[in-house]
């Protein structure tokens, strides 16, 4: 599959590495030259593009028209929403995944903004913790009379 990842921070590059391991064709796009240079140093076998992922022309030059999946993975929720909306509405990308940075913005990451799948690390973490708390052995609860 052809995957375009917008945002080459820790989150984006981690996903890129994982997808490359599964033999997907990966392009990573970021406007920060230093971040891209870091990826270049790590010699990942993905294509690297420098540019603003919220700009349609940049997305086009990064190959969005041929992408099967776009992952909006920047550290800004408003950027991820705009990228997702452009990918879905302007470029008809079949599958759009977007990262939620602030769980309070989670309600926006839906079809309404062109998002097929939201990735929220804080929420995932939270539900894991809740699961562990629920399944933990209980101390007996003292009764009122006790």
């Amino acid at each position: 599959m052809r995957v375009l990842i917008a945002g080459a921070g820790a989150f984006g590059s981690f996903i890129a590495q994982d997808l490359l391991g599964q033999n997907h064709e990966v392009t990573v796009l970021d406007q920060n030259k230093a971040v891209v240079a870091e990826l270049t140093d790590r010699q990942l076998s993905c294509r690297l593009v420098i540019g603003d992922a919220c700009e349609p022309r940049v997305l086009e030059s990064a190959g969005i028209l041929r992408a099967d999946v776009v992952i909006a993975a920047t550290g800004d929720d408003e950027d991820n929403l705009v990228i997702a909306l452009l990918a879905h509405q302007e470029f008809q990308v079949p599958r759009v995944v977007a990262r939620v940075n602030d769980p309070r913005n989670g309600w926006l990451f839906s079809e309404w903004w062109g998002v097929d799948q939201a990735l929220s690390a804080p929420d995932a973490f939270l539900s894991l913790v809740e699961e562990k708390v629920k399944s933990a052995p209980h101390h007996p609860v003292p009764t009122q009379e006790g």
Partner: protein
């Protein structure tokens, strides 16, 4: 009118204080609480709310469900677009306007259904206008710009001519002359003099004709 403004910088605060002074119910939201102290005078009677322009709770606290207008004027293009789209599509605010810096994005956002004011495009256009028509300024326009009020300095070759030479019914109307700092409304017999500053009401089609009269183009 109930107005919500996102972004309390120069533009947001000027809008907020102006609308508030006119008696509108204004709520202004900014991520940084200190923006209010810096830009909003104490006399402002509206709501000041600290937080994000797409925080549901905060927007509802600002009264978005009953708002008549929503103005997204932060310095972030994307956050303006996101909050503007929330206001128009989710909360159905009747009038939503977003400020956009990047002209390349403004078109896309317009296509996405968000009315935008493209600050850079507008400013550049205005400056280009001033560059091209240095002695020929548009002071007001009417309708969709079919009619304009313009100002022009009298070219030397027209000194001594009668005002009626510059009047074209339905196209060009010379309505005011400022001579040596004093303004007057010309009569049928008025004669033009060196140094006159003229104001015309002119139709779009009359511009070419006036250019010829004034010896331009």
């Amino acid at each position: 009118m109930k107005v919500i403004i996102i972004g309390c910088g120069r533009v947001g605060s000027t809008l907020a204080t102006g609308l508030d002074a006119e008696g509108h119910a204004v709520a202004i939201i900014d991520k940084r609480g200190d923006a209010f102290e810096r830009w909003i005078p104490e006399a402002f009677s509206g709501l000041r709310l600290k937080g994000s322009g797409f925080d549901r709770e905060l927007l509802e606290q600002a009264g978005i469900e009953e708002a008549d207008a929503f103005l997204a004027v932060t310095n972030g293009d994307n956050s303006n677009v996101v909050s503007a789209r929330i206001a128009s599509e989710h909360y159905k605010v009747p009038k939503v306007i977003a400020r956009i810096y990047d002209p390349r994005r403004a078109d896309i956002y317009r296509r996405l259904g968000i009315p935008t004011v493209a600050t850079v495009t507008w400013t550049v256009g205005k400056i280009r206008d001033l560059l091209s028509y240095t002695e020929y300024e548009e002071e007001a326009s009417y309708g969709n710009g079919e009619i304009a009020l313009i100002r022009a300095d009298l070219p030397l070759h027209l000194a001594g001519r009668k005002v009626t030479d510059l009047q074209v019914p339905g196209e060009i109307s010379l309505i005011e002359i400022t001579r040596k700092g004093r303004a007057f409304i010309p009569g049928a017999g008025s004669v033009l003099a060196e140094g006159d500053v003229l104001r015309f009401i002119i139709s779009r089609d009359g511009v070419g004709m006036l250019d010829k009269f004034l010896g331009r183009g």
